[in-house]
Amino acid sequence: MQFLFHILISWMIFALLASGFRFFIKLKGNLDFSYIAVVLFSSYVSALVNLNWGLGFLASFGLALLFAMPFTLLVLALSERLNAFYFSIGTMTLYMLVYQLAYNLDGITGGAFGLSGIKRILIWGWELTSLEAYLLLMLVVSVLLFGLLWLFKKSLLYKTLLSWGERELVLQSFGTPVRKYKFIIILITTLLAALAGTCYTFYYLYIDPSSFRFSMLILALTIVFLSYKRNELGVLLVAILLLAVYEYLRFFKLVEASKIGYFREMIFALLIIIVAFISFKRLNFWREQ
């Protein structure tokens, strides 16, 4: 039963993670790898404020979002200077930099050993001691978030952002405040990333840089590519399928226990190669269909 709760909670966390990633790709048509950097950064901020000041979930999320604002400005600056592919390289570099600094700044982040001893405080010292309680919290967060995203898609602002596509220069010539809309997209993505990072920290109660390796990026990308043409329900369905495979491989008996991690990552690497080949051939990421 505990394992079932673990699957359900992990599912919601990864669906949340993939939604933010997908949000940016759909609206801007570019791959923003700094999203995972913000998730990593937010996770560490949440962990540090919890360990040092005893702050709960809501306060940690708020502070993580606040501290992640510079990323918003940096990504905005990169998007002003660079287009499409070069923007992807720039954000990929940002992600690798944050990942590397998580290892190097061991006085703050604990280095390779990470941070442990996080308490699952919700608010005002009220601690969530059981997995059922955290599952309930994740259900509330997921329903709220996916509901808000669904409502947002009905709004005029979303339709305006969608009309953008690649026609930035055309919109600028009409006097549309392109920079303002870019900022809105990046801000919403940062919010989603900060929320995913905080949920991750408060569930696993331990974070280290290896949790945010390329394998997390690959898993998120696979969910995004497989659910690209679908709505939020599609994201949830794809996320549960992939997570089930991910967890099943943990217990795969044909492989030695000491090598199961490598085997799992190989399977997912092969999966992203196949999914990317098919997705890029069939889908046009630069225009919302």
Partner: protein, 273 residues
């Protein structure tokens, strides 16, 4: 100041940048799997020398060749559009990089490998590379094939419109890159030790030098590599910054160059990216 060490690093980083730059110029592919390919070929060489041509080693050799040539061939044939190939290449080569890294760790283990040093003097290696690079630049500038490669990097669509099969032409150059990658891994094996996770850092350094110099300026890649190695030496040996931040330096350089002068330091004209 150890000149041999500086030159050795300049050559390794410069070659990584050259391979990446070539892939990008001729194929619009940022080959993320360069580092993993290099490390895997090093591990394969080590175990071929140690154990000989066993079935396992032969299978690994086939996987390495398929992951390099097969993937690049498929990227060319499946994606006519340069734009799609750029993005697809980034994700697919990232997947290949992860696959090769984990496969090598799975089969050969994750401990570092190296061979006894001193069999080939460092000065001979350095001069050998200069000769090889001289031949490469002669081929690039003075032969018809080299001119064709330059034309492809400048205007691939025009070349395609003239009926020349770009995919077939660049495969020849990719074969050369593969030989260069294997040579680099062999050199690293003899003069240093190799771990699978180091592959990513070599790739990042190559990418950083390529971006620092500018994508269109291959002739300045080794100058850029030398500047970077000198900066590394100055910061981490002379000034004494913690060595742990060595990998972060190139990443900071990349972000700064992309923000301030994205066309690169040696670029002739302002080029919108």
């Amino acid at each position: 100041m150890d000149i041999g060490y500086l030159l050795f690093n300049t050559i390794i980083y410069g070659c990584c940048a050259l391979v990446l730059s070539g892939f990008f110029s001729y194929g619009n592919i940022l080959n993320f799997s360069l580092g993993s390919t290099m490390m895997m070929s090093g591990y394969l060489l080590f175990f071929l020398i140690k154990n000989g041509f066993t079935a396992l080693n032969l299978v690994m050799l086939v996987v390495l060749l398929i992951s390099f040539f097969g993937i690049n061939y498929l990227l060319f044939h499946c994606f006519e559009s340069d734009k799609k190939r750029e993005h697809a290449g980034l994700i697919i080569t990232l997947g290949v990089s992860l696959f090769l890294e984990n496969l090598t760790n799975y089969v050969y283990g994750s401990t570092a490998v190296s061979l006894p040093t001193g069999k080939i003097p460092l000065w001979m290696l350095i001069w050998g590379f200069f000769v090889l690079l001289g031949l490469l630049f002669f081929f690039h500038k003075k032969t018809f094939q080299g001119t064709l490669f330059q034309a492809i990097s400048e205007n691939g669509n025009l070349i395609r419109a003239l009926g020349i099969k770009r995919a077939k032409v660049v495969q020849l150059f990719f074969a050369f890159f593969f030989v260069l990658i294997v040579l680099m891994s062999w050199v690293l094996l003899y003069h240093s030790s190799m771990r699978m996770q180091d592959g990513l850092f070599y790739m990042i350094k190559g990418m950083g030098i390529m971006i620092l110099v500018g994508l269109a300026r291959k002739e300045y890649l080794f100058l850029g590599a030398l500047l970077y190695v000198l900066a590394e030496y100055l910061l981490f040996v002379n000034i004494g910054l913690p060595i742990a931040y060595k990998e972060s330096l190139i990443l900071i350089v990349i972000v700064l160059v992309l923000l301030i002068k994205p066309q690169g330091l040696f670029s002739l004209r302002k080029r919108s990216l």
